[in-house]
């Protein structure tokens, strides 16, 4: 008998008891749906986060004061990074790899304007910051090199900050905002960036770092230095160059812990990839348990089916069915069972993923590999758990089967 005919025969047999068939498939349906859903959501979430990180640039190096190896608190209050460091990095030879550098100082201030009072994170940055963080302005202009060197009391409002202070759609260029009771003239509004983790650049207010350090903060150190390389490939090399430059400048003894740390956005991406990958495979592993349970359910029902159809096996053997004909018939029946369950599971998983990603506003991704995995796993479950009942049917002696009551 040809395989195609066996599939049709199997479908007829399964259709004859549709409720039992569906209940039998339930384990597989749930398992496959869970695996598809988890993989899809995992990939969607990963893509959402990596997209966001990438939108801040993949060729960025961030220099922190202190040592990150002591944990995030290791950088707090450390005053080892200076504007001079940033200038040295900018002017270093060979500096061909570096496109731009921006010192960054930051603190939260009460900002008053137009009768509105908000607490905003004020970012003291260089003119190059806009290009590094792909910030464009929807009104006016960003901070210029001249305003940095001239210590201008100007400010660029983040998208949401402008709305909070002046209301939606207002023309704010030329307005005055009071940051910590000091007047700054608004020269522009940044485009909408969207939140990323715990920070939302749309709430920021940007001022020249020189002005921030002198007038607002009264400090001569910077919190971070942001470096942009010319492309992603040279990030590691550039990080090494910066490290040795700063070690020399800070007179760090050989083997001693440097008083600064370097991180690249590439690092962040790969760390994130590891975490989400781990999480996805963990959840998929749990879902796989349901597939094993589903498989056992299939085996159970197939054993019942073989017993119920003992007479049918006897009749088929009388008509000339060989051992392998019976074996294949029952095996294909269990594979058709798990494959149909897998197909329903895929439909449910994809549907649920579509719904959840739309609600959670993350990209909807169903990879071909996860579908192939689902089909493959369904088939294997059918084969593995179907072989024993099928063998039992094939081993029936024709007279015993015919006599069975």
């Amino acid at each position: 008998m040809q395989i195609g005919e066996l599939f049709i025969t199997a479908l007829v047999a399964l259709r004859s008891n549709i409720l039992r068939t569906l209940l039998t498939m339930l384990g597989i349906i749930i398992g496959i749906a869970a695996v598809i859903l988890i993989i899809s959501l995992g990939q969607g979430a990963t893509k959402a986060i990596t997209d966001q990180i990438s939108s801040f640039g993949t060729n960025l190096i961030i220099i922190f004061p202190g040592s990150l190896s002591q944990g995030p608190s290791g950088t707090a209050g450390v005053k080892t990074l200076t504007v001079a460091d940033a200038e040295a990095i900018q002017n270093t030879n060979p500096s061909l790899n570096i496109r731009s550098v921006s010192p960054i100082v930051t603190r939260s201030f009460q900002v008053v304007a137009n009768g509105q009072k908000v607490n905003a994170s004020v970012q003291g940055v260089a003119d190059t910051y806009a290009q590094m963080q792909t910030i464009s302005t929807i009104q006016g202009t960003f901070i210029t090199a001249d305003s940095v060197s001239g210590l201008s009391r100007i400010a660029v409002l983040g998208y949401q900050a402008a709305i909070d202070l002046f209301g939606e759609g207002s023309d704010v260029v030329g307005q005055i905002v009071k940051i910590d009771n000091r007047s700054f003239r608004v020269i522009g509004v940044a485009n909408q960036k969207g939140a990323s983790g715990f920070v939302n650049p749309d709430d920021y207010i940007y001022v020249p770092y020189t002005t921030a350090m002198k007038i607002l903060l009264g400090q001569d150190f910077v919190q971070t230095i942001l470096v942009e390389t010319k492309n992603t490939n040279i990030i590691d090399q550039t990080m090494e160059d910066i490290r040795s430059l700063l070690i020399t400048r800070h007179k760090i003894a050989d083997g001693a812990d440097p008083d600064f740390s370097l991180r690249s956005s590439k690092d962040a991406l790969s760390t994130l990839g590891t975490i989400t990958g781990l999480l996805t495979s963990l959840l998929a592993g749990i879902a796989a348990i349901s597939l094993v349970v589903g498989g056992i359910g299939i085996m159970n029902i197939m054993l019942v089916t073989v017993t119920e159809r003992t007479k049918e096996v006897g009749l088929l053997k009388a008509l000339g069915a060989k051992r392998k004909d019976i074996l294949l018939q029952f095996l294909i029946e269990s594979v058709v069972l798990t494959l149909s369950g897998g197909a329903i599971g895929i439909a449910i998983g994809v549907g649920a993923s579509y719904g959840i990603t739309k609600v959670a506003n993350i990209p909807f991704i169903v990879s071909l590999s996860s579908l192939a995995l689902a089909v493959g796993v369904s088939t294997i479950v059918g084969l593995v758990f179907g072989i024993y009942p099928a063998k039992k049917a094939a081993d029936l002696q024709p007279i015993d089967a015919l006599r069975y009551e």
């Binding site: 007829v12 047999a13 049918e312 009388a318 008509l319």
Partner: protein, 239 residues
């Protein structure tokens, strides 16, 4: 008997033992007989006489404990399971008392089934199945599901299926056991017609008026042949 000298079926000193725990029970005791082409033999006997055992061995569903079973000149006593399956497929057409047809399967597919195992191409299968169904007058029921036809029709479909591989013998095990007497006689009439067309038929029954349709009657008792006679008062259905 007939002019042919090679019998279709030849039992030579066939014995069949069953082990029931510690005891061995001999169901057939040194049975020998020949059946030639175009015979219509009824095998009779009360329950426990060994007629079912004989049917199983003759149908290659089971093997004898000792003795030789020669089918069309070939000793198949030592054939393995798959070889016996092929014998059943090609040489023997079964008609059982009950559970003859696959449920939820069309009449046509039921008749096609033995040809599937013989790897007959699909187009040819359908053609041959329709031909066999026409012979039993059920060609119009080809697409009906087997559970939607009457008991008499089921037996006629089973006969069509038994004929479809052109077997050496048609082996009918109590084929009318589940039928009312009127239908039973119609079925027996069919067997007679098939025999007249040259088919060799072996009928297992315990009913005298069914055995009366056969040309020859073998009576079993306690595992041995009690009598083997030509039927002098052959019966025909009312036509």
């Amino acid at each position: 008997m007939t002019t042919k000298n090679v019998p279709v079926i030849s039992f030579k000193n066939i014995c069949k033992d069953y082990n029931t725990g510690s005891q061995t029970y001999r169901a057939l005791k040194d049975v020998s007989f020949d059946i030639y082409k175009n015979e219509f033999v009824a095998i009779m006997g009360p329950s426990g006489s060994g007629k079912s055992t004989m049917m199983h061995i003759m149908g290659a569903l089971d093997r004898a404990t000792s003795g030789q079973y020669i089918l069309k000149g070939k000793d198949i006593s030592e054939y393995d399971e798959d070889a016996l399956a092929e014998i059943r497929n090609r040489e023997i057409g079964f008609v059982f008392q009950s559970f003859n047809l696959l449920r939820r399967t069309s009449v046509l597919k039921n008749v096609e089934r033995p040809m599937m195992y013989a790897n007959v191409p699909p187009a040819q299968r359908t053609e041959r199945a329709i031909k066999a169904l026409t012979l039993v007058g059920l060609e119009t029921k080809a697409e009906n599901l087997s559970n939607n036809i009457s008991g008499g029709q089921i037996q006629r479909v089973a006969i069509a299926r038994a004929l479809v591989m052109n077997p050496s013998i048609i082996l009918a095990d109590e084929p009318t056991g589940n039928l009312d007497s009127k239908t039973a006689h119609t079925i027996m009439d069919f067997f007679q017609k098939l025999n007249a067309q040259g088919n060799t038929i072996v009928l297992i029954t315990h009913e005298d008026d069914i055995a009366a349709y056969a040309k020859r009657v073998i009576r079993l008792h306690d595992g041995t042949i009690k009598s083997d006679t030509m039927n002098s008062k052959k019966r025909y259905a009312n036509r």
